[in-house]
Subunit: 358 residues, 2 copies
């Protein structure tokens, strides 16, 4: 079978050695039954959860005064759980840097007053808003650290006493994140961690308080325990992916590789006669690179052209269109060089055929 | 490898042909990438979701005026979402039939006044409360149709105009459920449907109204669409399990088999000199059978005795102890006859050794 490179923004590509391992032991995991048939309260599964947390703490240098929660519902459920659980004054500050932060803002409004402390909506999210100069009297400041759809990211953090809350769904484990600078981090697993179905929350323990909330929605009920049955298969594969990241050299090595991969692609886009990146400057994402020819029909022609050559999921998010390549940890360098080759091939053919008429 | 029979209450045993199929196609599902790497917005995955819904509607005879939602967070998140979404008067009626219904009641109290319309707490949940005679002026009447921990179930339904809401986590697809009698049914998938990570909600469409709720928590946002990334692997395997149920003869055939399996085990328990079932009478569960020797140490000795013979997960729920055999759809008749043989073997040995002194 020809090699396929999967540029999906998530669920996205996972390390092949992990997938082979999962396949090999799928019918019988230790107790002679499949991992998907195993009680989440069994000792065997308990060891998996423990290992998963240990590896995550090691890889991200998570201090002991932070708890790691294994939840469900994706980042979207965190758009509710964050304000429900961190509400003190009922005033929340948000940076509006793209479609996902807009959704987070909309949900937070159900629980208090949202101060939009910065927005790049006017630039159609081609940039990120600056950190606010003075921010106080709010329960937290929320930021989407990497904007999966728009392809931007924050690299510097503000000097503030307000707890920082960040959605790190698309850059967790792909670049170094200084956990201690944050009050809370959350991420859907389906990009750099494992299969969809697992949501990670990393929270400073002093922010977890007993609240008048129903069980699933209270962080306090998930601390140091599994409140109910998680998506067990997702946790199991995530543990294996984290083992792979450790073997490969950790987050620092992942970041080095992702910088190399994304630089290759940005350089190719910046010098292409046909394609260009939608984001310029220093806040370009390492993991999500939206690009275009400037013409919808040509973009679509390229997407199909690439697909027939084994490069799949290059369409932009359904809300914005265009093209997008997601270069998560498990995307090998060869996938990026192959994409660049196919872009050149398409440019070449374009000299003969007008794709605008496809 | 010796055959292992898995009596786990959930995540539980799944059909072996399905597990083999999943394993075989795990590295490459149609597009040349693993099912766990596939975008939930891809056409390929869209077809899986469509098939899953079609099969479920066919198997459960779900009418068109009911929507099927694919959620996360387990039954536990539904303990919140049900009252949040069905709240009109803010008065809810609940039948208190066991530990899970107690948890549902505790969560519902966050959203209104809970009327406990019947309780079997006084009998330590060895029976189920009767249906209330007159129930009115409440938004719904909630029942746990099969009590996974206590091993009881409802078979008759009340004549009432109040919408019935039922937790069917442990009996969905294991016995016929007359969907039209209910306003809403919900179930965690990890017993008879597939791997953990998927929660099904089947709701009469007239009960879905636009509400001032944040996105993930509003049923209206999940109708006829995937609001966000679900646990894709769980949906994919669930679709394959439902195909297996259809091939085997549907829910009616599953119920026939489960009646046969549970009757065998109940008969063995009722005639055993050592073991006895915790529930007697007509409300015994088809799927979850708690039993005991009446002595904790002997129960534990049997659990270990059985485990060395390939019969695993026979311990009772951690909150009640004792023993429990869950006989879900994928448990073959041979698993039950083997369990009965091992019980006899243990009884025989017990004539020589006093397990009370283990």
């Amino acid at each position: 079978m020809a090699v396929v490179y999967n540029f999906s923004a998530g669920p996205g590509v996972l390390p092949e050695p992990v997938l082979r391992e999962v396949q090999a032991e799928f019918l019988s995991y230790k107790q002679g039954v499949s991992i998907v048939e195993m009680s989440h309260r069994s000792d065997t599964f308990g060891t998996i959860v423990e290992q998963l947390e240990t590896r995550l703490r090691r890889l991200m240098h998570i201090p002991d005064d932070y708890a790691v929660l294994f939840l469900q519902g994706g980042a979207t459920l965190q758009f509710s759980m964050v304000p429900m659980n961190l509400r003190e004054t009922g005033r929340f500050a948000y940076l509006d840097s793209g479609i996902w932060s807009k959704k987070a803002i909309a949900d937070a409004k159900h629980f208090g007053d949202v101060i939009v402390a910065g927005s790049s909506a006017a630039s159609n999210y081609g940039t990120i808003p600056d950190w606010p100069e003075h921010i106080q009297d709010v329960d937290y400041l929320h930021v989407t650290l990497n904007n999966t759809i728009e392809g931007t990211r924050y690299t510097k953090l503000p000097d503030t006493d307000v707890p920082l809350v960040a959605d790190v769904s698309s850059n967790i484990l792909a670049e170094a994140i200084d956990v201690q600078r944050y009050g809370l981090l959350y991420a859907g697993a389906q990009k750099n961690i494992g299969p969809a179905g697992l949501t990670l929350v990393i929270i400073r323990r002093d922010l977890i308080t007993e609240r008048d909330l129903p069980s699933y929605l209270a962080y306090s009920k998930h601390v140091d325990t599994l409140l109910n049955t998680p998506s067990t298969f997702s946790l199991y594969v995530a543990e294996r992916v984290l083992a792979w990241v450790e073997t490969e050299g950790g987050v620092e090595e992942m970041e080095r590789r992702n910088e190399k991969k994304s630089k290759l692609l940005y350089d190719a886009l910046d010098t292409s006669p046909l394609f260009y990146a939608l984001v310029s400057g220093k806040n370009r994402s390492l993991t999500n690179i939206p690009f275009t020819t400037g013409d919808d029909a040509t973009d679509e022609a390229f997407r199909q052209f690439a697909e027939t050559r084994g490069l799949i999921e290059l369409g932009g998010h359904r809300s914005v269109g265009g093209l997008r390549a997601s270069l998560y940890n498990a995307m090998p360098l060869e996938g990026v060089t192959r994409l660049i080759d196919v872009m050149h091939e398409f440019e070449q053919e374009g000299q003969d055929v007008s794709y605008k008429n496809v």
